[in-house]
C-alpha cells in the first residue's frame, strides 16, 4: 500500500488548470522528486498534499484514508519551504521543539528529541542561537530538523535549496538524502533543478503544464524519456535529421571524428569549448544546417579548429521527435 497517493487530482485557478488529473503514488520510505519548469504545477501538488490548497476533483489518500477534509495541522506532514521559514523569535532549539510542544510532549522528552535532531543535522553547538545568527544553509538544516522532529508521515520539501549558493546547495542536498535514508521518511521533493532531482531521488516525476509527463527512476527518465518534453527538459539534446526523420540525440552520444571516417555525417566546426576532462564541440551539419553539440572526453591529439570540416557520428538515438 502506498503511503501517499494522488488519484486524478485536478486543481483549477479560474480557467487555468494547475493540476490536471494528477496521479502519483508514493511508497513508504521513498523519496520522489516532482521536477518541472516554473508554473508547471509542482508546488501546487505539494500544497495540495500539505492541505494548504483545496482541489476541485480527485482524491488524496494517505495510508488508505482520504485526507481531503483533514486540515493541514492534523495531517502530520513536516514541510521545509523555499524561503527561510524559521520562527525569528525562537532559538534554534525552540524552533525544533515547536511542533513537539504543540503536541504537548513532556519537557524532558522534548529536550531529548531536540538534542537528537541537532545532532542529526550536525548543529549541536547552535541550539541557543536565533535564526538570524545562522547562515542560509544552517537555517535550512534547522528547518529540516524541525520538520523531522515531529516524525512526519510524509516530509514535504518545497525547493528548499533554491535560496542557497551553489556549494552549500550541494552539501545540503546530500544531507537531505542522507537524513531521509537514515530516518526512512517518505519524502516528496519539489524542484526545478534537474541535477537535484536526478541525484537524490528514488523516482522522478516530470511535470509540464499541470500534467505528469513521466514517472520513473532518474536513469529511466534520462535514458528513456517518454516525451520530447522530458527528453529536452532533462539533460541536453540535439535535434537532427537522419534519413529524413527528425530525432533527438544526447551530446554525449554524439562524436566528432576526422572527416575521413566512413558512415559519418558531414559538418563544419563552429565553436568549441574546453572544460578540463570534457570538451564540447559545436558543429553545423551539412545536411540541414542544424547545429549539433558533441560532448566528448578530452583525449590527447584530438584538436579541432574553427571552420574545419569534420565527420559526426551518433552512437545512440534518444528518440524520434513527435
Amino acid at each position: 500500500m502506498s503511503q501517499l497517493e494522488f488519484a486524478h487530482v485536478t486543481k483549477k485557478y479560474g480557467d487555468l488548470e494547475a493540476l490536471s488529473a494528477f496521479t502519483l503514488s508514493i511508497q513508504k520510505g521513498e523519496l520522489i522528486s516532482i521536477l518541472g519548469p516554473s508554473g508547471c504545477g509542482k508546488t501546487t501538488a505539494l500544497r495540495v498534499a500539505a492541505g494548504f490548497e483545496k482541489f476541485d476533483a480527485g482524491r488524496l489518500i494517505m495510508n488508505g484514508h482520504n485526507i481531503e477534509p483533514v486540515p493541514p495541522q492534523k495531517r502530520n506532514m513536516g514541510m521545509v519551504f523555499q524561503s527561510y521559514s524559521l520562527f525569528p523569535h525562537l532559538t534554534v532549539a525552540e524552533n525544533i521543539g515547536f511542533g513537539l510542544s504543540i503536541r504537548k510532549m513532556e519537557k524532558k522528552k522534548r529536550v531529548s528529541v531536540v538534542s537528537d535532531m541537532l545532532d542529526l543535522v550536525r548543529l549541536v553547538d547552535v541550539g541557543h542561537r536565533y535564526p538570524h545568527q545562522l547562515s542560509g544553509g544552517q537555517q535550512q538544516r534547522v528547518a529540516l530538523a524541525r520538520a523531522l522532529a515531529i516524525e512526519p508521515t510524509v516530509l514535504l520539501l518545497d525547493e528548499p535549496l533554491s535560496a542557497l549558493d551553489a556549494k552549500v546547495r550541494v552539501e545540503v542536498r546530500e544531507e537531505i538524502r542522507s537524513l531521509q535514508k537514515r530516518t526512512g521518511t517518505t519524502t516528496l521533493f519539489v524542484t526545478h533543478d534537474q541535477d537535484e532531482a536526478l541525484t537524490i531521488s528514488d523516482r522522478v516525476c516530470v511535470m509540464s503544464n499541470g500534467v505528469i509527463q513521466q514517472v520513473g527512476t532518474p536513469q529511466e527518465v534520462y535514458d528513456n524519456p517518454s516525451t520530447d518534453f522530458v527528453a529536452t527538459f532533462i539533460g541536453e539534446t540535439n535535434s537532427v535529421t537522419i534519413a529524413g526523420n527528425e530525432v533527438l540525440v544526447r551530446p554525449e552520444h554524439t562524436r566528432v571524428v576526422s572527416d575521413a571516417e566512413p558512415d559519418s555525417y558531414r559538418g563544419i566546426v563552429q565553436n568549441f569549448s574546453f572544460a578540463g576532462p570534457l570538451k564540447t564541440v559545436v558543429v553545423r551539419m551539412s545536411v540541414d544546417e542544424s547545429l549539433v553539440r558533441a560532448t566528448m572526453t578530452n583525449t590527447v591529439g584530438t584538436e579541432w579548429t574553427m571552420g574545419q570540416e569534420v565527420g559526426i557520428v551518433f552512437d545512440h538515438i534518444l528518440r524520434p521527435t513527435t
Binding site: F81, S85, H89, I102, V114, Y130, H132, I150
Partner: protein
C-alpha cells in the same frame, strides 16, 4: 562623504532638538515658577521654583476621577483597536489582498470626518438604538477607536508586511498548530513591536483627546485640564508637562523593547525549550 554627512548631522539635530525642547522648557518655567509671566526672563531663571500649582491640581477632587477615566478609556480603546485590527489586517494580508486599498481608505475616515460631525452623527444614529454610546463614559470607546484607526492600521499593516507571513503561518500549521495557536505563538510575538507601538499611540490619543469628550460632556483628563486652566493655569500646565514626560518615557521604554527584539544583533542568547 562621511565627514560631510557628520557636518550636516549636528546642526539638524540641534535645530530639531530645540524645536521640541524650547517649548517644553518654557512650559516648565511657566508651570513651576511662581513668577509673573511678564517677568520670566534670564534674571528670574532660578527664582521661586515650586510644584505647588501641580500639586494643587493633582490633589483636586475632580482630577483623580478624570485622570482614571482617561486611563481606563485608554486601556479599553487599546484592547478594542487591537481586537478589531489584528484579525482584520491578518485576513487582509493572507486572504484578501485586493481589499487592502479599500481598508486603507476607510482607515483614513477619521481624518476626513470632523469630530463634531462624528459626535452629531453618532448621537443621532444611536441615541435610540444603542443609548449607552451617548449616555455612558465608555460610549467614547468606539469613537476613540475610529480616531486611532489611521495610524493603528498603518502600524499593524507595516508590522505584518515585514513578516514572511504566508511562510510563517504555513510552517506553523504544518507543524500541527491550529489558527489560534499560530496567532498566539507565532504571529503575536513577531508583531510585538507593532502591537506595542499601536498600543502606546492609541493610549496617547485617548489621553489627549478633547473635542469628542467635550462635545459629549464627559469629564476626561483633557476636558478637566481645560476647566482647571481657568482656576489654576500653572497646575494645568504642570499636568500637561507631566503627561509629555510620561509619554516620552513610554516611547523610550518602547525603544528599549525594540532593541531587545530577537532580530536585533545585540540580543542576549536565550535558553533551550
Amino acid at each position: 562623504m562621511n565627514k560631510r554627512r557628520t557636518t550636516w548631522e549636528w546642526p539638524v539635530i540641534l535645530v530639531v532638538g530645540a524645536f521640541f525642547i524650547v517649548p517644553m522648557l518654557a512650559m516648565t518655567r511657566f508651570a513651576m515658577q511662581r513668577v509673573p509671566m511678564s517677568l520670566l526672563g534670564r534674571d528670574t531663571l532660578f527664582s521661586r521654583w515650586t510644584i505647588r500649582g501641580l500639586m494643587n491640581t493633582i490633589s483636586d477632587d475632580k482630577f483623580q476621577p478624570a485622570f482614571l477615566l482617561s486611563v481606563r478609556l485608554g486601556i479599553v480603546t487599546v484592547l478594542v483597536v487591537l481586537a478589531l485590527l489584528l484579525p482584520t489586517v491578518l485576513w487582509l494580508h493572507l486572504r484578501a489582498v485586493q481589499w487592502k486599498m479599500a481598508a486603507e481608505v476607510v482607515s483614513l475616515l477619521a481624518y476626513v470626518v470632523p469630530p463634531i460631525a462624528l459626535v452629531v452623527g453618532v448621537s443621532g444614529a444611536y441615541r435610540d438604538t444603542v443609548p449607552w454610546i451617548v449616555s455612558t463614559n465608555f460610549g467614547l470607546v468606539p469613537l476613540y477607536a475610529i480616531l486611532c484607526l489611521p495610524f493603528a492600521y498603518r502600524t499593524l499593516d507595516a508590522g505584518f508586511a515585514a513578516l514572511d507571513l504566508h511562510t510563517l503561518v504555513n510552517a506553523s500549521r504544518s507543524l500541527g498548530a491550529s489558527w489560534q495557536q499560530t496567532f498566539r505563538k507565532v504571529l503575536i510575538p513577531n508583531l510585538r513591536t507593532a502591537i506595542l507601538t499601536t498600543s502606546f499611540l492609541a493610549f496617547a490619543v485617548v489621553m489627549g483627546e478633547f473635542a469628542i469628550s467635550s462635545l459629549l460632556l464627559k469629564r476626561t483628563l483633557p476636558t478637566y485640564m481645560v476647566e482647571a486652566q481657568g482656576r489654576e493655569p500653572q497646575g494645568a500646565m504642570g499636568v500637561a508637562l507631566l503627561l509629555l514626560v510620561l509619554t516620552t518615557v513610554l516611547f523610550m521604554v518602547l525603544g528599549r523593547i525594540q532593541k531587545k527584539s530577537p532580530t536585533s544583533s545585540s540580543q542576549e542568547i536565550r535558553i533551550t525549550p
